[in-house]
Amino acid sequence: MSTEETPESFENSHVLDPAATADSQETVSKEIEDIHASYREAVADGAAEETQPRIDFAPYRSSLLRHPTKSLHHADPETIELWSPAFGERDVHVLESDLTIQHNGEPIGERIVVQGRVLDGDGRPVSGQLIEIWQANAAGRYVHKRDQHPAPIDPNFTGVGRAITGPNGEYRFTTIKPAPYPWKNHHNAWRPAHIHFSLFGTDFTQRMITQMYFPGDPLFSLDPIYQAITDQKARDRLVATYDHSVTSHEWATGYNWDIVLTGSNRTWMETEEEH
């Protein structure tokens, strides 16, 4: 991890983001509700259901100037786009999937296992691919220098993990349950507890970064990042399931979360060519 190289100033930290506002939660929640209501109306009138977040979602203030206003342009994928970089044991040590053993002592918090499978849109397991996670600690604090939330840093927890998916697309991380933390989107804004996930598929067009949430989080309805996904069924896909069969006796509670990437274009295009 190359965090020590450049001295960082806090001048442009998120804490001083000009997009940060003093709006109330009520104002932001009302904006979210209005967008969701018109989405539901559109679906009732026959519009397609949305499966991805809107990139133009004003309740998330930082998105205002950072989303393209023109629609994405359709491209037929060519050569390099139909392949992904290869990762393997050379890149990732097997111990990197246990975030609780990276220092001399036990991190503080609730030890958990998060496991699941990475599949593509055709249901095929994505095997031998890189999966990366990062997260706040049990107090809701990131090791990142720009995180100034006055919650304790845990000297025994960095909150970064990596793994290579198994032959059936499976992954398994041992970590500490992250806590919610405050941010500056609006007054008294709190993010639901989450783990960031970074994923690769077999085509680079399947590359994605997302966030996994925990079941029953009371902050879900208040969070403009989570609610930027307008469809409830789609939002549910980011929530892990508590699984007692993953929980282990006197050691850790367990969660399951499967991830589905978009469809590979290489496989069907190659099949076309063969015929």
């Binding site: 998120h14 809107r54 491209a75 978009t262």
Partner: protein
Amino acid sequence: MAQAPELKLVPTPGQTIGPFYGYALPFTDGEKLVDRAHPGSIRLHGTVRDGHGTPIPDSMLEIWQADEHGNIAQETGSLIRDGHTFTGWGRTAVDNVGHYSFTTVNPGATGEGKAPFIMLTVFARGLLNRLFTRIYLPEDTEALAGDPLLSSLPEERRSTLVAVREANGDLRFDINLQGPEETVFLSYPRNA
């Protein structure tokens, strides 16, 4: 091209990379697809800007490209580089003034008459899902003129995808998430 088959499963939604990836995702030499001393090495660099033209200081970029002969690498070892193996993939965070820099090679054409390009993925705080685009090399004007993607774009938007060759051989490619010079971002079949 034939119609892409329907997906069997609904893809998981993406989410923003957020502000705190800096200690987690960038890695040592992530931006060096080749060493600076590598014959034919170039710098690919530019600035990521928002809708006001203000540099974005918390964006992360990844490139994925063929080697100078147009071959697509399937070598592991991107995360722990040995200084010799070309893996074709790189990752870097922009600096405090939104500037990024990769050391790489000019990709070769991956097929007869094809316009060489580098695939680019953009992540940023405030950006709710990743964006894809292409960085075309400016030299082969005939191939560029015949490129299906570029040809499908209006003249004024086409140039946002073509890098500028600087006097010293470096490539400059700025990324504008919004605004009059907004970069063309791409969707692919089965992207859902």
